[in-house]
């Protein structure tokens, strides 16, 4: 099976494509950093009123803010990435060309989005986190093992995020204009990943529910791994298990929907 080499090449070209847009990267880093400061001061006010809110102390809460900013682009927590491009190809009918290729559509886009995510993790993740660490007292781990587990968890989170966006993008086969759904997908992700407020702060039954939704796998779970909230064999296994199950379920749904979509596809335009 030499096929994976193709997907590595696709991931590589995804990485390079985003790497060429330096100004966009710089602007993104700037935005993430400013956004991080705003959220950080809000959280300080909140945790001063309610210490130990959601089981985090203040430095953990602040760490959560900066991890969120570091992963915002990489895990595409505000949408985007391959989603816009794929939707555009469905809208214009260019997706027909993808179907003429001896490739697996889902694997192809997954590879290209992983390449993009890898670039964004480095290009847009590192600087905001470093700035945050200098400006505030963060609860970052000293152990390399925890960092490695965190990176693995981020990887699984990106796969879940991809699988979710793939499902939304596929709806473009039925809807002539999927931009409304794109906005919905962004909103859901923004709230249910924990980007606006950590999920363990969500009250009562709502909190119980959102912590089990797939979006939790994209930010909340990796953050908890880094913060040591999820630790030890059982804690880590639980985190990876949660992410992997969602990844498999959603990728599976994506394959099914893809099958239906391409079966009844009316590729638009001559």
């Amino acid at each position: 099976m030499r096929l994976p080499r193709l997907y590595f090449a696709v991931a590589g070209s995804g990485f390079r494509r985003y790497a060429t847009y330096r100004m966009a990267t710089a602007a993104g880093v700037f935005t993430n950093t400013i956004f991080g400061f705003i959220l950080a001061y809000t959280f300080i006010a909140l945790w001063n009123e309610r210490p130990q809110l959601g089981g985090y102390d203040q430095s953990q809460a602040l760490t959560f803010v900066w991890i969120g900013q570091a992963l915002l682009a990489s895990a595409a927590l505000m949408g985007g990435g391959f989603q816009d491009e794929f939707q555009e190809r469905i809208r214009t009918g260019d997706v027909a060309i993808d179907l003429y290729r001896p490739i697996d559509l889902q694997m192809w886009w997954l590879a290209s989005d992983l390449g993009r995510a890898a670039f964004h993790l480095v290009g847009r993740g590192v600087v905001p986190l470093v700035v945050g660490a200098f400006a505030f007292e963060l609860a970052l781990p000293g152990s390399l093992l925890v960092w490695a587990l965190f990176l693995l968890s981020v990887f699984l989170g990106v796969v879940v995020s991809f699988a979710l966006r793939y499902l939304f993008a596929l709806c473009g086969f039925w809807l002539l204009d999927a931009s409304g759904l794109g906005a919905l997908s962004m909103l859901l992700s923004l709230f249910f990943s924990g980007m606006m407020l950590p999920l363990n702060v969500f009250p009562g039954a709502l909190g119980e529910i959102v912590r089990w939704l797939p979006w939790a796998a994209t930010l909340q779970v990796p953050a908890d791994v880094l913060l040591g909230v999820r630790q030890g064999g059982a804690g880590i296994a639980g985190a990876f298990g949660f992410q992997s199950v969602w990844a498999l379920v959603l990728l599976g749904c994506g394959r099914l929907l893809q099958k239906v979509a391409t079966r009844r596809v009316v590729v638009q335009g001559g």
């Binding site: 193709l6 060309i97 001896p102 590729v267």
Partner: protein, 325 residues
């Protein structure tokens, strides 16, 4: 390979009673919708032997692209039977796509922000083309399509003609058995058109590639294809040699006569009718199969004839007449 039946070369592409029906829903009131059926392809049958070059023509919306999409396996037929190289394109699309090449005049299969060479490298990986074959094919295309010096240029910077040649190369790197071309010369200037046509003729002659071509440019067909298939309203209107279209289209030749002076339309010429007058010049239409000699003598006998010429039927007129029926 799975599903490969014994393919006799005569039925390399075999289409029988092919149908495609789309259901169209239309809003007909508040929350109310009516559905109607559109028969985009309505019982088409034809067969293409290996190594033939066939031109597909028909007006916009005739069902050409829908037929091609079914032949390439990205649309499911609603009815009928369809085999390309012995396999059912829809059921074994992923297997079949390795054996076909597709070129769209209005879309590109290349990657917008990558140089041509990188696009080709991805294609090589995708089709798992052995190094030696990849090199030979690329060299051949670069030479014949004059792509030298363009390989390092990102696709977005190529002109339409250059991009088109780049696209044709991408479709041929894996030695496809069948090449589908959808309007390959649309928007190209005369020189680029000639280059693309020359290349396709050469490809067909040397590699024996079966070529299916849709176009609105009939000179493409005249230059490239001995056989044409005319489709209109989802039905097969004509399938045969290009020259035979004249008979089917009940085409007419035109006798143009110049008289000494302006006169009322010529009358009483048996087997012809006057279709136009302009000053001393008059146009008489008569069946393409009939001889012009008796007409000329009749006109010369009754009118002061100065000069005359005979105009052969125009292929475009013939087809326009077929569409109008």
């Amino acid at each position: 390979m799975t599903g490969e039946e014994s393919v006799d070369d005569d039925g390399f592409i075999d289409v029988r009673e092919l149908e495609k029906v789309f259901t169209v829903r239309r809003r007909s009131g508040f929350l109310r919708r009516t559905t109607s059926e559109v028969r985009a392809v309505d019982g088409i049958s034809f067969a293409v032997p290996r190594g033939e070059m066939v031109g597909f023509i028909g007006p916009n919306g005739a069902g050409k692209s829908t037929t091609i999409k079914m032949l390439t396996g990205i649309l499911t037929p609603s009815g009928g039977r369809l085999r390309v190289a012995g396999v059912d394109p829809w059921k074994e699309r992923t297997q079949l796509v390795r054996r076909i090449g597709v070129v769209f005049g209005q879309r590109t299969t290349l990657w917008w922000d990558l140089p041509l060479r990188d696009s080709y490298a991805l294609v090589k990986r995708m089709y798992r083309i052995p190094e030696a074959r990849y090199r030979a094919n690329l060299e051949r295309c670069v030479e014949l399509l004059e792509l030298d010096g363009l390989l390092e240029v990102p696709v977005r910077q190529l002109s339409l003609g250059q991009r088109m040649r780049g696209d044709i190369t991408a479709a041929l790197l894996h030695d496809p058995d069948v090449l589908y071309l959808d309007e390959p010369t649309i928007g190209l200037d005369v020189i680029s058109k000639a280059r693309v046509r020359e290349f396709l003729l050469n490809l067909n002659a040397e590699m024996g590639t079966t070529v299916l071509l849709t176009t609105h440019d009939l000179s493409d067909i005249e230059y490239l294809c001995k056989r044409v298939v005319v489709i209109d309203h989802g039905r097969l209107m004509y399938d045969g040699v290009l020259a035979g279209l004249h008979e089917v289209g009940s085409s007419e030749r035109t006798l143009v006569v110049d008289l000494e002076r302006e006169m009322p339309p010529i009358e009483g010429v048996h087997g012809a009718r006057t279709v136009r007058t302009e000053g001393p010049r008059q146009w008489l239409a008569f069946p393409a199969a009939a001889s012009a000699a008796p007409l000329v003598s009749q006109v010369a006998a009754g009118y002061p004839l100065v000069d005359l010429s005979i105009r052969e039927p125009d292929i475009e007129d013939v087809i326009a007449r077929m569409y109008a029926r």
